[in-house]
Amino acid sequence: MLWDVDLDLPGSQLTAIVGPNGAGKSTLVRAALDLVPRQAGSARFWDQPLRDVRSRIAFVPQKQEVDWDFPVTVRDVVLMGLTPRLGLFRRPNGEHLQKVDEVMERLGLQPLAKRPISHLSGGQQQRTFLARAMVQGAELLIMDEPFAGVDGPTEELLFATLQSLRDQGHSIVIVHHDLETVAKNFDHVVLLKREILATGSPSSVLVDSNLRLAYG
């Protein structure tokens, strides 16, 4: 449950949505993407309604939303990122597959390409999900808790990848739970607890008075 959310996020920045458990962080991004019903309000992307710009947005759901015992390989999952380009009937061509290989190389997934996803560590699972989103070639990346259950080296690799995507002009919005890594890695923060408590640069948002409101 969320109310009175009036939020305008900057482009080409790495934005964190933080707040205590149950604050509605996931609900906010899911409502914006029409994945859960909204009582009221609307979300616009680049001043356009969602249905006109779906292909420019890539969503990375929470890891536990899928069945990791599903019989697919890492490469199969990454290939699913082609879905918006292929629609229902087209088959991937050489150019598409090249993009898939590039992204997998960049995230160090090539050696795992044929591995069933049931045999992945938490970090490998998140890299697979990020690769699927990157294959879409979307300008806006929305990720729900991508750092949950991730080891240190993977976290660094994910942040480095996201920051270089931002430097190429992508916008990235991340539902995040770890306040400690916010200041160092993000450009913009939204502090949420059922409503927006504060939004702005990490140094202006993560001050004691705000944090007491959210977590106190």
């Binding site: 994945l35 939303e65 019989p71 199969d76 999952v77 699913m80 229902l88 069933p116 490998q124 080296p153």
Partner: protein, 284 residues
Amino acid sequence: MVDLLGDYTIRMVTIGSAIVGGLCGALGSFAYVRRQSLVGDVVGHAALPGVALAYLISQSKDLAVLMLGAGLTGLLALAVSILAVRYCKMDQGTAFASVLSTSFGVGVLLLSLIQQTHAADQAGLDRFLFGQAATLVEPQIITMAGVGTGALALMLIFFRPLVTLSFDPSYSRSTGLPVVGLESILLVALVSSVVVGISVAGVVLVAALLAAPAAAAHRWCTRFSTLVAVSAAFGALSGATGGFLSSTWANVPTGPLIILILTGLVIVSLLWGRRRTEPREVPS
């Protein structure tokens, strides 16, 4: 064996059971990976009142007519269960169990009604309870093969988006895939395979034809496309073997025999399948 297959009844039962097994094995893979194997049970049980109603209305025992009735009540039961879960916040297991037993009860009532009023004529209908393939004739096999081909074609045409949807519904919706349309296509294909299945396995046992081959195949496969193929092969093989044995060796009903063979396959796969459930130690 060649001689025996020359026998019309044996040939029909073997071919019919192989078609049913293969079809249910293929479509059942989707139900299995979506953890919806109970869907087969609901549609199966709900097919019984459909068979009875179709007979009451048309006064015909034409398999195509009975299958149409079975398919319609199967879809209706599924729709009711899904709506009960979505809008009455009923737990899925509860919804499935209630709809399943209610529709089966209605079916049994209708059958006994038919038995009292159309005594001489109804002899063929109770074979839909536990399945008896011995009475299959060629036109029926052609009907079953036709419906089965339709269901398989739907599955193959939409294979890639259906796999994406089954693996990750949230992601699929976020990419703008027509999720409701794809779900409906999959349900129609599943219901069709159940409806084909009941003429051999009966409404009570058909669920196992959907669940067992995929459960066995999962132990041998790491990719979904292979799982579908292996599951279909397991189903067809068990169907053909069960059909052949039931029509040559003693007078046993076909459905239960196929199910027992499938259960054997599942046990063998669980014990010796190469895919282990615990994660391997892997470098990250």
